[in-house]
Amino acid sequence: MKKNACNIVIGGEAGQGLVTVGELLSKALVRSGYFICVSQFYESRIRGGHNTFNIRVASDEVIAPQEGINLLVALNKETVEIHKKDLLPGALVVVDEKNGEGCEICIKVPYKQFSSPRTMNVAALGVVGCILGLKEDVMAEIVDQAFGKKHPEAALENKLAVTSAYEWAADKSANFEKLPQIASPASRLMLNANDAIALGALSAGVKFYSFYPMTPSTSIGLNLAAEAKRMGIIVEQAEDEIAAINMAIGASFAGAPAMVATSGGGFALMVEGVSLAGMTETPIVIVMGQRPAPATGLPTRTEQSDLEFILHAGHGEFPRAIFAPGSIEECFDVTRKAFQLAETYQSPVFILTDQFIADSFHAVAPFDIDKTSPIKAGSTVNEVLLPYQRHAFTETGVSPRLLPGLSQHLVITDSDEHDEIGHITEDSSLRKRMVEKRLKKFEGIKKEVVPPTYVGEPQPDILFVSWGSTKGSVSEAASRIEGKTTAALHFSQVWPLVPDQFLKTLKEAKQVICVEGNAFGQFSRLIRRETGFEITKHIRRYDGLPITPEYILREINS
C-alpha cells in the first residue's frame, strides 16, 4: 500500500450531487497542498443508478488509483452494501443516520440536525473535511466560491452547514488516521486530461473548435466554449461529427488552427474527413477519448481499444502521428506538440485518451505560459516560390502553404488527386509522385517522435510495456513487486514508432509484459508489426474499468 495514501470513495445515485461533492472535496485537498488521483465511475443516465467519485490522496504525488477504500462517503444506503467488500482495515463509512440502520462500521450523521436538504451535501463535505483533518476555513472558502455567486442567499446557510458539520464531526473519528498536515501548501492546478488538453490547445494557438457532444470528450468543448470570448476563439457545436471535422478542416485551410474531439462512434463519422485532411494536406488535431465499444458500447466507461482504428482510419495512404499521454502534464505537452506537428507536416495528428484519464483530476504545477509560443499557421509570400502552387513538389514532401485571401496568389486544393497547383488530375505518373510526396512527410514526422520513457532497473526481470493512461498504474505496480527487478517502458507517442528508441530495452529484459485496456493486444501487435519483437505475456482489461496497480499485481500472481 502506498505510504500515507488515503482512498476516499463517495457513492450515490446520479442526481444527488455526487460529482459536485467530489469536485469540491478534491479542490479542498489540492488547496491544502495534497496530491490526488481521481477516478469517476458513472452510468449512462441522469438520475438513479450507482455512481462513485473516488479520490486517492497523499502528501506526495499520486500517480494511480487504488481499489481498497479507506473512507466511504455514502450518499445513499445502496453504496454501503455495494462497497462493503472493498473496505480496508480501519476504514470509515460516513452515512446519513437514516440510512445507517444495522451498520456497525458506519458513522451515522444526523444531517437533518444541522442542515436542510439543500445544504446536506455541503454538510457532508464538512464532516469529511473534519475527519481528514482539512482546515475548516479552506473548506468554507471552497463552498463559498462554488455556490456564493449563484446562490448568494444561501451563502450564510452553507457556511453554517460547514461549521455545524465540523463541530459535530470533531470527536467522531478519533481512530481514523488524519492526513499529514502540510505547512505551506504549494499552489497547484486541479486538472483532468480534458482540462489540460483544452489549455494546451489554447496555448498552442487553437482558434477554431467544432464538436458534437460525446462522452468522454464533451468537456473539452465546454471548457473552450466557456473561455471562447475571453481568448478570442470560435467554438461551434456542429450538427453532426461529419460537419464538425469538415468545419475544422475549412477553418484550418483558411489559416485558423483547428481541433476536434470525440469518442469512437463520433470518430467513425469523421473518418472520411481524416482522409480529406490527408489528401488536401490540411493541418488538424483530433482528440479521441476512448470508451468501450463496439457501437455504443459502455458510454461512460473506459477502454483502450481504438488504437488500431485510429492508426488506420481514413481510406488511402497518408502520414499521421498519434499521441497517447500518460499523465495530465503530458496531456498539455502533447497537445502543443500535436498542433506543431499538424502544421509542420500538414497532416492529421491524433491524441488518444480515455474516460478514465479524461475524468481523472490531479494536482499539477501551473504551466509556464510565458515560455510557450503558439504555432504559426501557413507561410508568407516571401517564403514560397512563384508562381504559387499549393502542392508543389519539395525535398521534404512539405509544400509551403499560403492562406487564401491573404495575398493575390490563389490557393487551390482538392479531395481528388491533383497536380501541383491543386487542380484535378488523372495522370498516373503524377498520381504516383503525389503519393510519394505525401508519404515523404512521414520521414520528417519520424524525426520528431517523442521517445518512450523508461523508468526502473536496466535489464530487469520484468519489463512492463504500456501506453496512454495506464502509465501511473503500471509504474506503481512495478515498484511494488518484490523479489524481482522491474522497469516500465511507457509510450506517450504510439505512432510512428522508432525501434531504435526502444527495441534494445525490450530485448534486454528477461520478461516483457504488455499492459493495455483491450482484448486483442493492439499495442503489442503494433510492436511486433514494426519491430518483429513478439511480446508473449499480456495483462489486458476490457470490462469497462480502469487498470489499477492491484489489477496488475493480481494478474501477475495468477
Partner: protein, 310 residues
C-alpha cells in the same frame, strides 16, 4: 487585374468585401481575369451557361479572384470552380457547406461561395443544408439542380420527380420530390432564389444579389443534364420557367410560401424570399475585431484561464 477607379456598389448591392489587408488597392476586374479552362463537361451541358453567369456576376461585383473562396463537393457541378481563377477547396461529396462555414468563420473577409449539385446539397449534405440555413452563415450556395446524379451516370436525385426512371430506379422513383425552395422559405432562410441556366443574364443578376446579401443565400439553379435526364430537358425548363412578376414582394413570407409550391406547368424564377436576419458571424465578438487567422494568443488572458483551476 487592373487597378482603376473602383466602382462603388449601390445601396441595394453593397460591396461584399474590402481589400486585402494592408493594401490600398481596389480591384476592377473583367472576364479575362477569371481565365478560361478546358472542362470535363458534356457538350451542351447547362454548366457552361452557369459558369458564364457566375463569372459575369463576379465581374459585376468587382470581386477579384483572390478575394473569393469557392468550396465545392463532388459531381460535375463541383468541378465548376476549377474552371475559373479563384481560391478553391474542392472537398467531399455533400460536405461543402461545413467547410465553407469553417473557412468563413476563420476569415470573414473572404467571399465564400459553396457551389455543388443537388445531390451534394440536398442528398448527401442535407443535414448541412438545414444547418446552414439555421445558422444564416454569410455564404452563397449555388446549387446546380439538374434533377439527376450525372457523374455517377444517372441515378435519381432528391429533386427527381416521382416516377423518374433510371437504372437504379427501373420501376420509377417512388420518393416524393424534395422541394428546396419550400424548405428554405419555411425555415425563413434569409435569401431564397431560383434560376435557370437558359436565362443566363437573369441568373447572373441573381448571383450578384446573392453574393451581396448578408446571410445564407440559396440559389437553386435549374439546368439540363443532356446525357442523363431526358425528362427535364432545356426545352422542358424553357417552356415552364418564368420571371416572377415585378409586384412579387420577396419580404412577404406568405406569398413566398405560395410561390415555393409552384412547380409543374409553371416554374417561377427570381428572388422568392428575402429577410434581414442577423448572420451567424454577428454573434461572435471576436470577429468584430478581425479574422481568427493571424490573431495572437493573449498570454495574460491564458494565465487567467489557467489560474481558474487553482
Amino acid at each position: 487585374m487592373r487597378e482603376r477607379v473602383r466602382v462603388r456598389g449601390t445601396t441595394d448591392h453593397p460591396h461584399p468585401s474590402s481589400p486585402v489587408e494592408g493594401e490600398e488597392k481596389w480591384y476592377m476586374v473583367n472576364l479575362n481575369d477569371y481565365g478560361t479552362y478546358e472542362t470535363a463537361w458534356c457538350p451542351g451541358c447547362g454548366n457552361f451557361s452557369l459558369l458564364k453567369a457566375v463569372k459575369q456576376a463576379l465581374v459585376a461585383s468587382d470581386l477579384a479572384p483572390h478575394q473569393l473562396l469557392f468550396v465545392s463537393g463532388i459531381g460535375q457541378a463541383a468541378k465548376a470552380p476549377h474552371y475559373l481563377n479563384t481560391n478553391l477547396f474542392n472537398g467531399l461529396h455533400g460536405r461543402s457547406l461545413p467547410v465553407a462555414t469553417g473557412a468563413k468563420l476563420a476569415n470573414p473577409r473572404l467571399v465564400v461561395i459553396a457551389e455543388s449539385g443537388d445531390g451534394c446539397h440536398y442528398g448527401e449534405g442535407a443535414n448541412h443544408f438545414l444547418s446552414a440555413i439555421r445558422r444564416n452563415i454569410d455564404i452563397t450556395a449555388l446549387v446546380h439542380d439538374n434533377q439527376v446524379y450525372g457523374l455517377t451516370k444517372g441515378q435519381a436525385s432528391p429533386t427527381s420527380e416521382h416516377g423518374f426512371t433510371t437504372k437504379a430506379q427501373p420501376q420509377g422513383y417512388v420518393l416524393d420530390q424534395f422541394n428546396p425552395i419550400a424548405v428554405a422559405v419555411a425555415m425563413h432562410a434569409s435569401f431564397v432564389a431560383r434560376g435557370f441556366t437558359g436565362m443566363t443574364d437573369h441568373l447572373a443578376g441573381l448571383i450578384r444579389q446573392a453574393i451581396a446579401h448578408k446571410g445564407f443565400s440559396l440559389i437553386d439553379i435549374l439546368q439540363p443534364c443532356i446525357t442523363f435526364n431526358k425528362v427535364n430537358t432545356f426545352a422542358w425548363y424553357k417552356q415552364r420557367c418564368y420571371e416572377l412578376p415585378k409586384d412579387h414582394d420577396p419580404a412577404n413570407w406568405n406569398a413566398a410560401m405560395k410561390r415555393a409550391y409552384e412547380w409543374g406547368d409553371k416554374i417561377p424564377v427570381g428572388v422568392i424570399y428575402k429577410n434581414d436576419r442577423p448572420t451567424f458571424e454577428d454573434q461572435f465578438d471576436v470577429l468584430k475585431s478581425g479574422a481568427l487567422v493571424g490573431a495572437a494568443v493573449d498570454k495574460e488572458k491564458l494565465k487567467e484561464v489557467m489560474n481558474k483551476y487553482l
